[in-house]
């Protein structure tokens, strides 16, 4: 490559995305200063402090970023299968050579630093999937192709589960968002999201009693959602008129059931809802028979299947799974997330964020995080420090930076001239979104407690380098692509 080409590619890299990344990294470093140091400490640069170490990791990733921008982008396409296979190999041997760190076998010691191969496997998997999908004639709408792609994602995921890093493994579900963009039937994505929602909501609120009835909030909400989703699907695949009818019918039946329970005799109105859903499914089938609308059969199946799934999952959780596995799932859902029970961690992190108010307590003044009330306050729960010290204003700024970066990635992905570039861009976007969604949602008590880092904020080199690889490979591909345009 000639000097001018190098200058061109670096100059053509998307500077807006790079600026956003730099801003996030800077915010992240200051937050680590706040989270990892004690009140009164001012020595942020010493190697003995986490902020000092993080500065070194940031320096390394800057070098890595520059190196990636200078690399010939064809290598990525070319080397993808090799890198993927190599990484699968590393993941396979990791549990055997790794030390036990808090029950996880995911860290490989390289002398001075420990690295987590799982953080880098995301990148090789993304490259491999992009390579596969960009093959001529490959379509995710085709089931065989789809299973191939899913297989490529599930292999590293399964290996990471074996390392007892469930959180990192779950990140691989992010690829389904990219699959959706690339043509995977939307109903799969929707069904998956619906199933997860049913499961989480149903289990999470299973023990809260719905006022004036004998049933649980979890069941009531899930059955209501089944009704709602079914109606919406009818509107999407059929006639809006039918959807309106179903919504009205559902609202009336549920309202009457609740009022009866309230004023006549308390009972579990879930039975009324189930009966209502069966009647609804029958009605949809009846319309389908009369008007010959094929998708309506699937929709009726969805409504009934969802109901069966809710009770099946509940039954499986309580009767088939052992107590130990049940606890793990409950921990995952944030119902039992620490030895002392009662949601201590999330509670403390909500207190930390809530106590920040509009403008926060000021840099280095967060008591809740400094005094270690919040666990893992400079890794998984680092967003608490933003909330406590910078308040709503600072948190909103951080959320804005993430949104801007995500939307920029969306824009850049869409402008790729190659399928490889677009698929890889969407993979990067999906992974980043999954991390931000789960991590920030977790500290605010919205999503289950899954131990995955907040990109650019959580302390640690592996996570930072992993995202540097993903983002700058993509930016390199984009820069090269813009030369061609």
């Amino acid at each position: 490559m000639s000097d001018s080409t190098i200058r061109n590619t670096v100059a053509r890299a998307d500077w807006l995305a790079i600026m956003l990344i730099i801003m996030l990294v800077v915010c992240g470093w200051f937050t680590i200063c706040g989270a990892s140091n004690e009140i009164g400490d001012t020595d942020f640069f010493s190697w003995s402090t986490r902020s000092g170490k993080q500065l070194v990791w940031i320096g390394c990733s800057a070098v890595l970023a520059l190196f990636l921008l200078l690399l010939d982008d064809r290598y990525f396409d070319m080397l993808a299968p090799l890198l993927y296979v190599a990484m699968v190999g590393v993941l396979f041997i990791t549990p055997f050579v790794a030390k036990d760190i808090k029950g996880s076998h995911s860290w490989i010691s390289l002398g001075v630093v420990n690295i987590q191969p799982a953080e880098f496997a995301k990148c090789t998997t993304a490259l491999m999937v992009a390579k596969l999908i960009s093959k001529y004639g490959f379509s995710l709408a085709d089931n065989r192709n789809l299973f191939q792609a899913i297989g490529i994602v599930l292999l590293p995921m399964a290996l990471i589960v074996l390392q007892k890093e469930t959180g990192s493994a779950l990140v691989y579900f992010a690829f389904f968002l990219m699959f959706y963009r690339e043509g995977m039937p939307g109903s799969i994505l929707f069904t998956a999201v619906a199933a997860v929602t049913y499961f989480v909501v149903g289990i999470r609120f299973a023990n809260d009693v719905l006022p004036y009835t004998t049933g649980s909030v979890g069941q009531f909400v899930v059955l209501g959602l089944i009704w709602l989703f079914t109606s919406i699907m009818v509107a999407v695949y059929g006639k809006v008129e039918h959807c309106k009818r179903l919504l009205l019918y559902g609202a009336v039946v549920q309202a009457i059931a609740w009022l009866a329970s309230r004023f006549i005799h308390p009972f579990d109105i879930a039975w009324v809802q189930i009966a209502g859903i069966i009647v609804m499914a029958a009605y949809i089938v009846w319309i389908a028979l009369g008007e010959r609308v094929r998708p309506y059969y699937y929709i009726a199946a969805f409504a009934l299947g969802s109901t069966v799934f809710l009770y099946g999952a509940d039954f499986a959780l309580n009767n088939i799974l052992g107590a130990h596995q049940r606890t793990r799932i409950n921990v995952l859902l944030g119902i039992e997330n620490d030895p002392t029970g009662a949601g201590y961690n999330v509670n403390q992190s909500k207190i930390a964020i809530g106590s920040g108010g509009l403008t926060g307590k000021g840099f280095m003044n967060g008591t809740q995080t400094k005094l270690k009330y919040v666990p893992e306050q400079d890794t998984d729960f680092i967003f608490c420090t933003v909330g406590e010290e910078q308040g709503f204003a600072g948190s909103a700024v951080v959320l804005f930076l993430y949104t801007a970066l995500l939307l920029r990635l969306l824009y850049l992905s869409e402008r790729q001239s190659t399928t490889f570039g677009r698929v890889f861009g969407y993979s990067v976007l999906s992974i980043l979104l999954f991390h931000v969604f789960i991590n920030i949602g977790m500290v605010m008590g919205l999503t289950p407690v899954i131990g995955i880092p907040l990109p650019f904020f959580s302390y640690g080199g592996s996570s930072l380098w992993g995202f540097t690889l993903l983002l700058f490979i993509f930016l390199r591909i984009d820069a090269r692509d813009s030369l061609r345009r």
Binding site: E38, I39, G40, I133, S139, A141, L177, Y180, R181, E182, G183, G186, Q348, K350, I351, A352, I353, G354, S355, G356, G357, L358, T367, Q368, K370, L371, K372, Y373, G387, E388, G391, F392, S395, A396, L399, Y402, T403, L406, L407, L410, E414, T419, R422, Y426, L429, L433, V436, F437, I440, G441, M444, L446
Partner: protein, 616 residues
């Protein structure tokens, strides 16, 4: 199918991104902007508020002699998780406890039902109130025992062994105190009796606060904002009492072995010069760790040493009460100072009622009647008033008028001294007799109240107050024991004159009568050389031996001291009342007792009255 046919799905992805962020923003707003609870919880998590105790105000007597002060005392604290591997036996020996006590105390501390705030990371109270001298020995050894630390507090110390009832004491607050005043927290000290209680607000000062940061394990992590929100304690105010310490000591000496009270008042101010109640106790014993044992002993003693008889004892005032009768009779026009129309033939005899009197010439007029304490004169006085249907339409009206006079003279209600627990005494009114005598009553029925017998009772303080108001010729100040409060004014209720309903001119006859009693009547024993003493004895009948009472003031003109003495079952007023009153006046007016008086004082100190199985 080309992948680009799914291009529109970018909008779905974009919507998902924006949707997630909007949900997060809403959640952030609800956590951070809509609720203050999280802020409060975070504060209560992170702040340990350490109280800095102010020093309690000192107490001086009227001559600025120190009576009560503070001495450092120490609490030994234990931090369980740091106390590992110490030589327990060695420690027990060092602080002088048994190993059993050590084990028991540790179990108590760890028991959360007894010690709800227990944490093994924070210091817990192991042993309280270790005096300075014991602690200085211990201090050198304490460093050898990790996990043990000392906290400085203070303990009340007394420079005197007298005036226990006036000074009172302090003790740990009870649940009611905390409920009434949120200033207090468990373990705080509060005035329990005497001026420690009535001047609690002034003496206690204001607690300071140091805000420390506490981590999740309860360990202290420095000061919050470098102490910007800390508060310095405000020391309590010093009190200067009106009590004369030497006079108080004399009064308590004189009452030794007797039950009773002596109260002396400065008439021109209402300040109490001494207030002794017997039996008494050493106030210095009611401090620190000894307090609860001591309090138990005193409160179960059948002679009731905790009772301040000067303000809580309700006694028949006996003949001291005749002065009130003389004054209100004169004011109401019932008697004339210069006429002597009441016969006394060894007492009051009328319609078959006989009330005895001792032998003296008869009839006599007012001044000698006071001087000789003629029962008949005052019974007639009351009879004439209560039977006077021209002036008072009914006997009830007369009674009401009589009662009003006495209330204005300070009887029947609490005077309002600045000490807790004062009793009001008893002045009957017409309703009382209407209820007591359903079949009707008349002047004769109640005639004994004119000489301070029957239903009438008064506290020694009220009797002393009568002496003070006669000394002032018609007014008094509410008696009080505090002369001065540091940097503050004493309550204006104590600096306002209270006039009675009797004119000044009539008081002069009472003064003359009381002077006559000293010169040639019942109070001859109070005739001090060079001092014009005025006095009145009282011999109050009751179930057992008569109570001996005296009230008087001196000098006659420009009086400096008014005294009341009351000795239970002491016999005639002249037996104890007069000589004790005279000694008090002599001591106060001359500054010392003459050799002869000192000898007499010693002999009274050693004269004990046998009370047998005292039940009251």
């Amino acid at each position: 199918m080309s992948a680009n046919s799914f291009q529109n799905r970018k909008f779905v992805v974009g919507t998902i991104i924006v949707g997630i962020v909007l949900v997060f923003l809403l959640r952030l707003a609800s956590l951070q902007l809509l609720s203050e609870d999280f802020k409060k919880t975070a504060d209560s998590n992170a702040f340990r508020k350490e109280i800095i105790y102010p020093s309690r105000g000192l107490i001086f007597d009227r001559n600025d002699s120190l009576m009560v002060y503070n001495e450092p005392s120490y609490n030994i604290l234990i931090t369980m998780n740091e106390q590992i591997g110490i030589d327990t036996l060695d420690f027990c020996r060092a602080i002088g406890i048994t190993k059993d006590f050590y084990i028991e105390r540790c179990a108590e501390i760890k028991d959360r039902s007894k010690n709800p705030g227990y944490s093994r990371y924070t210091p817990q109270l192991f042993l309280a109130h270790i005096p300075q001298d014991e602690f200085s020995l211990l201090q050198e050894k304490l460093f050898r025992f990790p996990g043990f630390s000392a906290e400085k507090r203070s303990i009340r110390r007394y420079a005197t062994h007298v005036a226990a009832h006036v000074l009172g004491d302090i003790g740990e607050v009870g649940p009611n105190d905390i409920e009434e005043d949120p200033y207090y927290q468990g373990g705080d000290l509060i005035g329990k009796l005497g001026i420690e209680r009535s001047y609690e607000q002034q003496l206690r000062g204001e607690k300071g606060l140091r805000i420390l940061l506490r981590d999740v394990h309860g360990r202290t992590k420095g000061r919050y904002q470098n102490g910007a929100y800390d508060k310095q304690p405000v020391p309590g105010r010093n009190l200067t009492l009106s009590i004369d310490l030497e006079l108080q000591e004399l009064a308590e000496r004189l009452l030794e072995g007797k039950l009773g009270a002596i109260v002396a008042i400065e008439p021109s101010t209402g300040e109490i010069l001494c207030m002794a109640s017997s039996p008494t106790y050493d106030p210095g014993k009611m401090t620190g760790r000894e307090r609860s044992t001591m309090h138990h002993i005193l409160s179960t003693d059948h002679r009731k040493p905790l009772l301040n008889r000067a303000i809580m004892g309700m006694y028949p005032p006996g003949s001291t009460f005749k002065i009130t009768q003389a004054l209100l009779g004169l004011q109401e026009g019932i008697i004339d100072p210069n006429t002597s129309f009441f016969p006394c033939s060894h007492g009051f005899n009328y319609k078959g009622l006989h009330l005895g009197c001792h032998g003296h010439a008869s009839p006599i007029n007012l001044v000698p009647a006071i001087g000789t304490s003629c029962n008949a004169y005052f019974c007639w006085n009351l009879y004439k008033m209560f039977a006077n249907r021209k002036k008072y339409p009914t006997v009830q009206d007369a009674m009401t008028r009589w009662k009003d006079h006495l209330v204005r003279m300070g009887y029947g209600y609490k005077l309002g001294i600045d000490l807790p627990g004062e009793k009001r005494g008893m002045i009957p009114n017409a309703d009382y007799y209407d209820n007591a005598y359903r079949s009707g009553w008349n002047a004769l029925t109640v005639v004994s109240i004119s000489i301070g017998q029957g239903e009438v009772t008064a506290t020694p303080l009220q009797i002393a107050n009568l002496a003070a108001q006669v000394a002032n010729r018609g007014y008094y100040y509410i008696p009080h024991v505090v002369h001065k409060i540091q940097d503050a004014q004493i309550d204006t209720t104590y600096t306002r004159r209270h006039y009675t309903m009797v004119d000044e001119k009539w008081y002069n006859y009472a003064v003359a009568g009381m002077r006559r009693a000293v010169l040639g009547g019942t109070c001859k024993g109070a005739n001090l050389p060079g001092i014009e003493v005025c006095g009145k004895t009282g011999t109050a009948q009751n179930r057992g031996q008569d109570h001996s009472a005296f009230m008087g003031f001196a000098p006659m003109d420009n009086p400096k001291i008014a005294v009341a003495v009351y000795v239970e079952n002491g016999g005639f007023g002249a037996t104890y009342g007069v000589p004790l009153g005279a000694l008090i006046m002599e001591k106060y007016l001359n500054g010392r007792l003459s050799a002869a008086s000192e000898a007499r004082a010693r002999s009274f100190q050693n004269r004990h009255i046998y009370y047998g199985n005292y039940e009251r």
